[in-house]
Structures are given as structure tokens and as C-alpha cells.
């Protein structure tokens, strides 16, 4: 026996999704403004065009390039896991150490760690398993000098697979933690 119901037309909510952008504050010399003037006093504003200075002598190089330069280890952001495993494999320890060092040297830098799982099993239980992965990364970062305020560990469970497909090759790509800096998510 077979019966088909035809559905009615429906209309959808329009949604927009915008990724926040973050820009580095421009470096520059400080431009002093005259303080509050006396009421009724005649003051002449000092006309002085601003100068945007660049300082190459401090240790803090522009943050974006270090984090995105393919030659820099910091441009690598993903840690992969074996099936049903949550510990950081030896091959990823130097990567986590490098990011911990960056967070320690850049106290204003913030990081979001997203834990992911493969598609098998309960979506909600996979949220919890992905959380176990991201918290493992957070724990190691904090042992190496990052602070609680800098790092947030969250889970995307199986919801944002990197690789499509229901096979071990895809699943291995999806058992993963990703480290994202402020402005990148």
C-alpha cells in the first residue's frame, strides 16, 4: 500500500549570517588634544595633521602574518584523532606548544577551540565527545602558559564535517580539533 501526500507551498525565513571582522588597531603616535576649555575662554585649536607611525623595533610583529604565513607553524590549526580517542597524539604536541607560546606572548590574543567528531552515533553525545577533544587541547595550552580568559573550548560534534562521505578516510578528517584566533570565526 502506498500513499503520497503533496505538501503545501511554504515560505522561508530569510536569515543572514555574517562573519565578524576584526582589524588590528592602527599603530601611530599619540595626538594630544587640548583638555576641556574654560567656558567663554577664547582658544585657538592647534592645527596639526596626524602622523601614522610604524614601529619595527618592538618584539610584537604584526599578528596576522605570523598566524597565517604558511611558513609559520602557527598557520597550522588542526589536530586529528584516532577513533574513539581524545588525547593529543605526539605528532601534534609541537603545534600545541607553538600556539601556547603565542598565547603566552600575546595576552590580548583569544582562541576558540572547536572539537569535532565523525558522523556515527548520537548528535548530542557527539557534542559531548567533541567537547572532550577541545578541552584536552585547552588543558595543554593552559599548562604551557595560556590563561583561562584567553581560551574557550567548544564542540561542533558531527555538525561541521570537513570531509563528506561515510568512510574511514572522511571520518579520520572529521575527528579533529580546530584552533581559531579572535577575528577568524
Amino acid at each position: 500500500m502506498r500513499a503520497i501526500w503533496t505538501a503545501l507551498t511554504f515560505v522561508t525565513l530569510a536569515a543572514c549570517s555574517s562573519a565578524p571582522t576584526q582589524e588590528q588597531p592602527p599603530a601611530g603616535v599619540e595626538d594630544r588634544q587640548p583638555s576641556a576649555t574654560q567656558p567663554g575662554a577664547q582658544t585657538q585649536p592647534v592645527q596639526r595633521p596626524p602622523v601614522a607611525g610604524v614601529d619595527l623595533t618592538t618584539k610584537k610583529a604584526p599578528a596576522r602574518s605570523v598566524l597565517t604565513d604558511p611558513a609559520s607553524i602557527l598557520s597550522k590549526r588542526s589536530i586529528y584523532y584516532d577513533f574513539d580517542k581524545y588525547d593529543i597524539k605526539d605528532e601534534y604536541k609541537s603545534l600545541v606548544e607553538a600556539h601556547a607560546r603565542y598565547l603566552r606572548d600575546n595576552r590580548t590574543a583569544k582562541m576558540l577551540i572547536q572539537g569535532n567528531t565523525d558522523e556515527r552515533g548520537s548528535r548530542e553525545y557527539n557534542i559531548a565527545l567533541g567537547q572532550r577533544r577541545s578541552e584536552g587541547v585547552k588543558r595543554m595550552l593552559m599548562l604551557l602558559g595560556a590563561t583561562e580568559a584567553q581560551v574557550e573550548a567548544v564542540s561542533l560534534g558531527e555538525e561541521k564535517p570537513k570531509a563528506a562521505g561515510s568512510n574511514e578516510a572522511a571520518w579520520a578528517q572529521n575527528r579533529r580539533s580546530d584552533m581559531l584566533y579572535g577575528g577568524e570565526y
Binding site: A15, G121, A153
Partner: protein, 424 residues
């Protein structure tokens, strides 16, 4: 004849943009004993946008408990006011008969009347008259089907209830609400980020769910009537797995704000957060027992994910599932007697129903990627998500495993079903 007026409150949602999709239901298995019922076309129903008699028949057949008897064209068309020729209906092998009519009233609205008969006993079983607008034709048909179902089976029908589910098409996610027969769907939320775990408030007017629009799981409460939504839980870390208490006053959620995945209780407006338990492992997927006394949930505290139960105010947990190494996603029937969950058997994830009194567990499906079971409010059917041919579809199966249906979308994956409560 019993006179009762029915005013359907139709949720009107604010929409912009347009899309089109079809959700179709295919019945793939039926019960053994099906009661033959004849439902004659209602004279006058052609002036309504939906055919009342055909929808009533489809509803009853979909339950797996009824078989529609073909009704040939008759002159004059019988109505609820006609004298019934029981011998003729008996010769058509009908055990039950429904006759009705639709007339337009001077104010532009319609009146649909029907009467239900026991053909074998040659006796009327009752009937109702409904006043309706054109837009309420489908809802009225579901109400009539509920009445007939309850009269003939003794249990409440669920044809007037609604279901929620998530459709994924490309990179677009839509949380949709449809009638229990999959018709009349409306989109409550559209997003470019995943939406999971919709949970109906007991009043049937709000949904809690998890949205990833902030690049992490956050729990929202969404009012279907006006489309207003607010954050219920957005703490540092992950916020997920919302479940309503039976009185609608609390939400149980899984939060990682203190590390790990742990159970908390909060008010639906997000206030009054209270930790329910301290566990060394994962605790998630809470669901209240219908009396509000207990929480069933998934935990790996014993080494593998299993279902546990603890007092809703917190306290010692008892293990509920013992067989196998992966039992998750508990849902409890409204009478509190049956527990639906997903069990992994030889690598297959299958919907399972456990009778909490007899401790008998029955695997309900022969599929291998079942998830997110949801029990109909009358306990008769279990709706779940599964994968067939690489596509996400919904599947409904009766609590005895015999009646089976597939709900598919012409394009896209359907998942995360949640069966709404009885209309209040």
C-alpha cells in the same frame, strides 16, 4: 448530534523569501488487523481547498489500524442527515462508516458535519459539527480523524498534532513545523549554521533548540506564534540538549561551562541556573519523566554510553540500560512505561523500545543509522531520523514494530524530528 465549535489557532509566522519543498509519506508496513472503514465524500467539500473525506481516510490508514473501503459514486450523495442503508454498507464489507457534509454559511465561513456509524451493530457512534474558515479545512479533517480514531480504538488520536524537524539543503538549515501527516510545513528558522535538538514546550507553542549561529552550540527558546526567540543558555563552552519539564517551568540542559558535559537546570528565560549532578564522565541528553520526578539521560560514567535515571532535583543515578556498549538518546512515553532509545548492535545504530515494567527490549527497525527517536503523544508511533541511500529521511514505526512509514524530502536531508504534544 453533539454540537461543538472548533476554532483553530493557526500560527502565523513572519516570512520573507520563498522556497518550495515536498515532504511525502510512504507507508512501508501495516498492522495485521485493520478495521475496514468507509468514508464517503462530504457533499460540498469541493468548495474547500482540501478534501476532508480523503484526508480523514489517509490519516486513519496511516495509523496502520484502519483500511479505507472504496466508495463508488452515489446519487444522491449521502450525508450525515441521510437514512443509512446498513445492508448496503455491510455488503461493501465496511465495519464502520462516516457520512458528512460541508455547507457555506452566510458569514462566509463553513460548517462541516459528520456522523460515525458502527455498521455491524447498525448504530450511530456520534458526530460533531465544526465551524471553520477555508484555511482550517485540513486542520478540521485531522480533528475529525482524531474523533473517529478515539471512538473506535479507545485511545487519543495524534492527527491534529504537529512535528518539528530540520531540513539541510546545501549549506542551508531550516527548522520546520508541519502537521503530523507532513503537510502544511512552515519554516520557523532558517540559518547557514546547523540547528539540532528541537524540543517542544508542553504548551506546543514554543520550541527549545540548539543553534550554531555563533560558531558554537547555544540553546534558544523560540515562540512559534510570533517568531520571537531568546537565548536560554550561552555560557562559555558548549550549551546543548534542552529538555522541558512537564509543567514547562524548567529546562534541563547539558553545559560544559564548568568543564566536561554536565547536566544543569534553568528557567526557560535563562535565569536560575543550577547544576544537577557532578559526574567524572559525560552526562547529556536529559529528558524528564512525564510525572516530572525523574530525569533520564545518557552518561559514560560506567565506561560506555548508557542510559541512567536520577531524581529530577539531583541525587543518585541508577543505570537503566545494560545490554550492549552504546545506548543513547532516551525518550520516555507519556504514560512513563516505555523508553525509546538508540542502541548500537554490531555497528548498526537502531531504534529500540524498552518496556520499563517487563524489562523487555525490542529493536524497532532494520536500518543501521537511526537517531533522535521521538514518541507520539499517544505512545503509538515512534518518529526517528535515519539514512537511506545516503539521504537523511524520517521514519515512523509503531510501538509494536509492525506499521512503518518513510517521510522524505524531494531534495535535501531531513533529520532531528520532534513530535509535538496534543493540542490544548
Amino acid at each position: 448530534m453533539v454540537m461543538r465549535f472548533f476554532l483553530a489557532l493557526l500560527a502565523v509566522l513572519a516570512f520573507s523569501g520563498a522556497a518550495r519543498a515536498q515532504l511525502s509519506i510512504e507507508i512501508t508496513g501495516a498492522g495485521g488487523q485493520r478495521l475496514p472503514i468507509a468514508i464517503a465524500p462530504f457533499p460540498g467539500e469541493a468548495s474547500l481547498p482540501a478534501p476532508i473525506a480523503a484526508i480523514v481516510r489517509a490519516d486513519l490508514e496511516r495509523s496502520g489500524l484502519f483500511r479505507g473501503v472504496e466508495v463508488p459514486p452515489m446519487v444522491p450523495q449521502p450525508t450525515e442527515a441521510s437514512n443509512v442503508d446498513f445492508a448496503e454498507w455491510r455488503s461493501r464489507l465496511a465495519d464502520a462508516l462516516v457520512l458528512g457534509s460541508v455547507v457555506q454559511r452566510p458569514d462566509g465561513r463553513f460548517e462541516a458535519r459528520f456522523r460515525l456509524y458502527d455498521v455491524v451493530k447498525q448504530a450511530p457512534l456520534g458526530g460533531i459539527a465544526y465551524t471553520l474558515t477555508r484555511e482550517q479545512a485540513r486542520a478540521t479533517a485531522h480533528r475529525i480523524a482524531d474523533y473517529i480514531y478515539e471512538k473506535l480504538t479507545g485511545e487519543k488520536g495524534v492527527f491534529s498534532t504537529r512535528i518539528a524537524y530540520v531540513v539541510k539543503r546545501g549549506n542551508r538549515y531550516e527548522l520546520q513545523i508541519a502537521d503530523a501527516d507532513g503537510a502544511g510545513e512552515e519554516t520557523a528558522l532558517a540559518s547557514f549554521e546547523p540547528i539540532i535538538s528541537p524540543a517542544w514546550a508542553p504548551d506546543g507553542r514554543r520550541l527549545a533548540y540548539v543553534s550554531f549561529e555563533n560558531k558554537k552550540p547555544v540553546v534558544y527558546v523560540h515562540s512559534l506564534l510570533d517568531g520571537k526567540r531568546h537565548v536560554a543558555a550561552n555560557f562559555k563552552g558548549s550549551n546543548s540538549a534542552p529538555a522541558w519539564s512537564p509543567d514547562g517551568s524548567k529546562l534541563a540542559v547539558a553545559l560544559s561551562r564548568d568543564g566536561g558535559s554536565q547536566l544543569f537546570l534553568l528557567n526557560p528565560d535563562g535565569s536560575g541556573v543550577r547544576r544537577l549532578a557532578q559526574s567524572a564522565g559525560i552526562d547529556t541528553e536529559p529528558v524528564f519523566s512525564p510525572d516530572g520526578q525523574y530525569l533520564y539521560f545518557t552518561s559514560d560514567r560506567g565506561g560506555s554510553p548508557q542510559i541512567y535515571r536520577m531524581p529530577a532535583g539531583g541525587g543518585e543515578a541508577q543505570r537503566v540500560t545494560f545490554e550492549g556498549s552504546y545506548n543513547v538518546s532516551p525518550r520516555i512515553s507519556r504514560d512513563g512505561r516505555k523508553l525509546a532509545y538508540i542502541a548500537r548492535n554490531n555497528g548498526k545504530f537502531q531504534a529500540t523500545l524498552l518496556d520499563l515494567t517487563t524489562r523487555q527490549a525490542q529493536i524497532l527497525t532494520d536500518s543501521d543509522r537511526d537517531e533522535s527517536p521521538s514518541i507520539a503523544p499517544n505512545g503509538r508511533m515512534i518518529l526517528l531520523a535515519t539514512v537511506v541511500g545516503g539521504r537523511g529521511i524520517l521514519s515512523a514505526v509503531s510501538s509494536d514494530g509492525r506499521v512503518k512509514q518513510r517521510l522524505t524530502m524531494s531534495a535535501g536531508d531531513v533529520r532531528e524530528p520532534a513530535w509535538g504534544p496534543f493540542l490544548q
